[in-house]
Each structure stands twice: as C-alpha cells, then as structure tokens.
C-alpha cells in the first residue's frame, strides 16, 4: 500500500514483508506490534475458554446437588478456570498486549530494547499454556487444587498437579522477561527530551508493574519448584506429617500472588488514565500524584500478603500488622479515583464507547476496592473469608477492573491497531448488556457470601438458591453482551470504514502517527512536548 504523494514510502506493520512469509512472519516476528497482537489473540482464546468454564460452573450452581457435573469435575473446572484466568489472561493481559503494542510508541521509540527476547517471551508463554492444557489431558486427570495450590492437599492429591505447577512456573518466566524488557526499554529508549516526568501515564503504570513482575515472580517460581520436589521426593517442606509447615506455603504463595493482583490492576489504571483526558479534552488532573501512586501501590503492595491468611492460625501480631498495611495500600488507589473524576470537571466530555467502559471501570473498581476494605479488616474478614463474598470481590475488581479496562483499551486503540473503525451504536448496546449482566452475575454473590455461602462449593444449602439463580441468569446476559462486542470488533476489523490517524483527537504520541503505524513507528524523530496531555 504505497502512497504516491508522500516522499517516504509508508508501509503499515500489518503489511510489511520481512524475512519470513505467511504465518511465520508472525511467529518469528520481532516487531513489538505484531507480538502484541499475537499475545492478544492467544489471550482472547484463553479468555474464551476460561469464560465458558465459568459459565459451566454457573449452570452447575443453579440448583443444589448435581446439575450437570460430578463434584470432582467441578473441582477441576474451577481450578482450570482460575489458572487460565489468572496466569494466562489477566497477568499478561494488558501489559503484554497493549504494553507491547503501545509502550514503545508512547515513549517515542522504534521498538522495545530486546525484540528477540520479546519474541522468546511469547514463545514460552505459549509453551506454558500448552503445558497447562496438557495437565488437563494427561493420565491422572485434571488438577483439583484450586489456583492457590494449597499444601498439603496439593502434595497429596493424585491429580496432575506437577504439570499444572510447572506450567505456572514457565508462564512466570515469560512474565519476568516481559517485565525486564519493559524496564530496560523505559530507562534506555525514551525519545530524546522525554524525562521520566513527562512520560505518559500508561508507561508509568507499566513501569511499576514491571518491577512487581520482576521481583515477585521468582518467589512463586521457587515455591512451585519446592512443591514439585515435594511431590516427587517426599521432601517435606510443606507437608506437616514430614515436619513441614503448610502455612509457610501460604506465605510464599501470597508473597507473590498479592503483588500479582497489582500486576493486573496497575496497567488497567494506566489505560483509564490515558482514556479520560482524551475524551474530556483536558489535561489530566494531578499528573504527579497518579505517577507516584503507581509506585506506591507497587511498593507497599509487596508487604500486605498476609491478608489472605487472617484465619490460618497466624500470630496475632502478624494479623494486625497486615491489616494495617492493607488499609494503607488502599489510599493511593483512592487518590487515583479522585484524580480521574476531577479531570472530568469542566471538560468537554464526549461519551464514546471507550469512555463508557472507562466510566464503568471506575464504578466497578470502587465496588471491588471497597469490598476489599471489608476483607482487609480482620473482624469482618473472619466472617467473609473463603466465602462467595471473596469470589464477588475479585470478580468485581479483576473482571470489572482489569477486564473492563481491557475492553476499554481495545475500543480506544482499535483504530490505531487495525486502521479501521467499529460500529459505535452496536458497541454501546454491547456495553449496556455487559454492564447489566455483570452486576446481576456478581452482586448476589456478595449477599450470600455475607450469609455464609463458602466458596469452591459444589453443593449448597437451599437458602442460597434464589441468589444463585439470579447470578446464573446474569451470567447468560453477560455472555450475550460479550458475543455482541466481539462480533462488532471482528466486523470492524474486516469491513469497518477506514479510521483517521487521530479519531479521538488525542494528544499522546500514538495519535501523531498514521493508523496502522509503520514498522518503525516514527519516520522522523518525534517532538516531545513537556506535558504529554496538552490540549488546545
């Protein structure tokens, strides 16, 4: 697609011909944009599988007793659902897809620092995913430990725990390498003149995230290795009959897994921080506060893991200590919310689909976050720990937060990635259905959770049934909305009308280059404005 009038030949990254052809031009691509898309397709596939599993659970839970599956199957289903969604969807989700695609562009670079390493990360991501799938098919049957792999159940059950943990180990490696790549890229590749404090806020969020990925993931790596060793050789780190300590496993697991929840949410917050100024045509309020709060969340977030263990028999001192820190880590999140809403004040607000998703993100995030406060308080945690209240909390904050941010990001950057535009009206309708279905699906779970419905329950007492039915109906509404949304996007990519370079009148660098971008992103060195969100 050469353009006769311009002097430099412009070829979009989608059509660029490299050394390889056809499908290999993708698998062997080192271009950060192609790798971003590769991650996106893989992750959407996993999301689709995981979501179907979620729906199956909802159908099973429509009535007490056996509805469509046996207890052992149910246990396998929520385990796979958790592993898929956490390790293969939300942890890589925003940073590997949109981070890869837009981080270099946003800081005015041609690519990430180590393109080949980037490609390697994708490969091992796929290898890990294949192992996770293999764990389902192998002889001993799907693992049934829950995504938390708590010992000593995980050291004694007869299912394929080794394969599943090895998969999580490999996926963790991919996550580490992506984080490493991003940190180096942000330090070394910023366009001349771009200081740390005039970087856009999505890269800031990615920077904080990358540090968590880099420093927390090795801990789970070694923990899973120990678990594997324990299963193979009766080593006894965690099995109390061999002198080990199951609580130690929980400590090690959450030392990683709590910071990991911030790996999910920080990039999501970054996306929202990009979208709001664009659709308000207004410079972001409290730039520095938002940037620094990302680092604060990442830093303090390392020290609060014990709030998953209040009832495990931890010492009293540890309980209050972790509770206190948990409450403190909520404050930087609150600051971000306040800044987003202030940015809307006296703006010129254009309610397009990405902005709708961003608004609903804020709403759902507040619900998810404040129910996190209820969980973080020791007294109330005793009541709701390991009940469906927790399930509702993390679906609100993971799906409602990170998931909605992912949808927002797709709708926001879609024209840049594909050079085409989707249908606004259909997108709005899909949003409405999703939002309604989502709340119907998860809100009832807060209520039955407070009343005492434990999580990971195949069967349940009859008094919870009404809420479970409402919740299941919500699940079906949600699905129809998601199908409409995906259909709309696919239609957009195939037949949508051509998108201009800057459809939303955004101010950051990605909107200053053609859609879709060329292989090298920038044909001439980009001009760095002091404030990335400069309007008028």
């Amino acid at each position: 697609m050469s353009n006769g009038t311009s002097k430099i030949e412009y070829v979009s990254y989608l059509e660029h011909q490299g050394k390889y052809e056809g499908i290999f031009s993708w698998i062997f691509a080192t271009d950060h944009k192609r790798i971003g898309l590769l991650y996106m397709y893989a992750i959407i596939t996993f999301f689709f599988i995981g979501a179907i599993l979620g729906l199956l659970m909802k159908i099973e839970l429509i009535a007490p007793g056996e509805t469509i599956m046996k207890p052992q199957v149910y246990n396998g289903v929520f385990t796979l659902h958790g592993i898929l969604m956490i390790f293969m969807v939300v942890i890589p989700g925003l940073s590997a897809v949109f981070g890869n695609f837009f981080l270099p562009i946003l800081i005015g670079a041609k690519d990430v620092s180590f393109p080949k390493l980037n490609r390697f990360s994708w490969w091992i991501f796929i290898a890990g995913s294949i192992m996770a799938v293999a764990s389902q098919l192998m002889k001993d049957g799907p693992p049934d430990t829950g995504w938390t792999f708590y010992a000593p159940y995980s050291t004694s059950t007869g299912t394929n725990v080794i394969m599943a943990t090895a998969a999580a180990f490999v996926l963790g490696f991919s996550s580490i390498l992506t984080g490493l790549n991003f940190i180096v890229t942000i330090h070394q590749m910023r366009a001349p003149g771009m200081k740390f404090f005039n970087m856009p806020l999505f890269p800031w969020a990615l920077y904080a995230t990358a540090w968590i990925q880099l420093l927390a993931t090795p801990i789970i790596g070694i923990t899973l290795l120990m678990l594997i060793g324990e299963r193979l050789f009766a080593i006894g780190f965690f099995d109390p009959t061999l002198g080990g300590d199951p609580l130690l496993f929980q400590h090690l697991f959450w030392i990683y897994s709590h910071p990991a929840v911030y790996v999910m949410i920080l990039p999501a917050m970054g996306v929202i921080t990009e979208i709001i100024p664009t659709f308000c045509q207004k410079q972001i309020y409290g730039y520095k506060a938002i940037a620094i709060s990302s680092l604060a969340i990442a830093g303090v977030g390392f020290l609060v893991w014990g709030h998953h263990m209040y009832t495990s028999g931890m010492s009293e001192n540890a309980r209050w200590f972790f509770s206190l820190l948990t409450f403190i880590v909520a404050v930087p999140s609150a600051i971000k919310v306040f800044n987003w809403i202030s940015t809307m004040y006296k703006g010129s607000i254009d309610v397009k689909p990405p902005f709708l998703y961003a608004l609903s993100f804020i709403f759902l995030f507040i619900i998810g976050g404040t129910t996190g406060l209820l969980l973080g308080s020791v007294a109330t945690n005793v009541q709701v720990h390991d009940t469906s209240f927790v399930v509702a909390h993390f679906h609100y904050i993971v799906f409602g937060g990170m998931g909605f941010a992912f949808f927002a990001a797709i709708h926001y950057w879609f024209p840049k990635m594909y050079g085409k535009m989707y249908d606004y009206k259909r997108a709005n309708i899909a949003w409405g259905i999703i939002f309604l279905g989502f709340n119907l699906l998860y809100f009832p779970q807060f209520i039955i959770g407070i009343e005492g419905m434990p999580r990971r329950y195949f069967d349940y007492p009859i008094q919870f049934q009404t809420s479970q039915i409402i919740s299941s109906i919500g699940g079906f509404i949600l699905v129809s909305g998601l199908i409409l949304m995906v259909f709309n996007l696919i239609q957009g990519a195939r037949k949508g009308k051509l998108a201009p370079a800057n459809p939303w009148n955004g101010s950051t660098l990605e909107w200053q280059i053609p859609s879709p971008p060329s292989l090298e992103n920038f044909d001439e060195e980009p001009v760095i404005k002091k404030n990335p969100y400069y309007y008028k």
């Binding site: 030949e9 070829v11 660029h16 011909q17 490299g18 050394k19 080192t30 271009d31 041609k110 690519d111 620092s113 180590f114 393109p115 390493l117 580490i176 490493l180 790549n181 940190i183 180096v184 330090h187 070394q188 590749m189 880099l214 420093l215 927390a216 993931t217 090795p218 801990i219 790596g221 070694i222 923990t223 290795l225 120990m226 060793g229 193979l232 050789f233 009766a234 080593i235 006894g236 780190f237 061999l242 002198g243 080990g244 300590d245 130690l248 090690l252 030392i255 292989l519 090298e520």
Partner: protein
C-alpha cells in the same frame, strides 16, 4: 525496506544489555531469596537438629569450594580487565582458569553428594523418611539449595564457554565486550550466592 529491517536488528545498546543483566540478577537473587526464607524459618524452628545435621557435612570441602569460587570470581573479573586492555591471550587464559575452577567445584560437589547418597541420604530415600523432622528438613534443604546452585554453576559455565570462543574469534574485543561483562556478572552472582550458602549450611552451629 530492507534498510528499515537492518536498522532494528543492528541496534546495539550496551548500557541496555548491562541493565538487563542486572535485572535478571535481581530475579535470581529473589529466587534464592525464597529458599533462604524457608531455610531461616525452619532453622528457627529446629535449631538443634539443624546444628546436628550440619556437623555431618565436611567443612573442609565447603571451605575449599568457597576459596575456589572466590578465586574464579577474581580471574573472570581480571579477564574482563584484560579484554578492556586488549590483551586477548591473557583473557583467554583467565577464562580458562575460571572454567577450570568451576570444574573443580563441581567435582568436589560430586564427591560430597556421592558420599551422602552412598549413606542412603538423598531425597526420596528410605533413610530420609526415617530421620527426625529437623534432620529431614535440613538435608532436603541442603540438596535443594546446593543442587539449584550447582545448576547455576553449569549455566554459568556454558555462558563462559560461549564467551571463550567469542573472545577467540574476536567477536568479543576491546570495543565490544558486553557479552563477557554480562557472563562475568552472572558468574559473580553464583559466587555471591555461595558466600551466603557456605556459612548457613556448613558453619552456623
């Protein structure tokens, strides 16, 4: 178009590679960090058993290995200086010595482990399950930590062998030696971890 492609692949930034290596070292430190955490918790719980079991290890072998590793760490640092001073021959010799030391280290480890295995002490053995809990944990940790460390030695050796040949073929020279610098950094990491492993496993009583 082909010019574009070349541009991306030939982009070289030594600062970036070095930073990348350091970040990788951070993850390795925390990987072992997890093990040190487990070690310290169990040691606090089973102090006397840990003390008794550590007596069964030979401090001499441990000390020899420590000295060998420290020495190799110095030689590889010198190799880097030699390359920077454009003294290819000296650099090759120094890398060779480092590799030799690594081999000695593994050789010692082999004997040390071999002796334990001969006594029926290895993960999963009958004897292990009969030990009292503290001893079992101590030896499990011993095998796990030194095993993982030995694995790192092997990886480090592979890296240094690559460096050796690259120095030989002039691919590493006094203008472009970041690979050797990173290989050396990795080797120092292995040494650094041993500096903590040695007293914790062999000495503290």
């Amino acid at each position: 178009m082909s010019e574009n492609k070349l541009h991306i692949e030939e982009h070289r930034d030594d600062e970036a590679s070095k930073l990348g290596m350091w970040l990788f070292i951070f993850t390795e430190l925390l990987l072992f960090g997890g093990l040190f955490l487990v070690y310290s918790i169990f040691r606090a719980q089973y102090t006397t058993s840990f003390h008794e079991s550590s007596l069964e290890l030979s401090v001499t072998i441990g000390a020899i290995n420590t000295i060998v590793l420290l020495f190799s760490s110095m030689t590889i640092a010198m190799a880097l200086s030699a390359i920077q001073k454009n003294n290819k021959k000296l650099a090759l010799i120094l890398i060779g010595i480092t590799l030799f030391c690594a081999a000695i280290f593994l050789f010692n480890k082999y004997f040390e482990w071999g002796a334990k295995i001969e006594h029926g002490l290895y993960p999963g053995s009958t004897l292990m399950t009969l030990l009292d809990r503290g001893h079992l944990l101590y030896f499990s940790l011993y095998f796990f930590m030194t095993g993982l460390h030995a694995l790192h030695i092997v990886i480090g050796m592979i890296l240094l062998i690559v460096c050796y040949f690259k120095v030989k073929s002039q691919n590493i020279n006094n203008q472009n030696y970041v690979l050797l610098e990173n290989g050396a950094l990795y080797w120092h990491l292995v040494d650094l971890i041993w500096i903590f492993l040695f007293p914790l496993i062999y000495l503290i009583t």
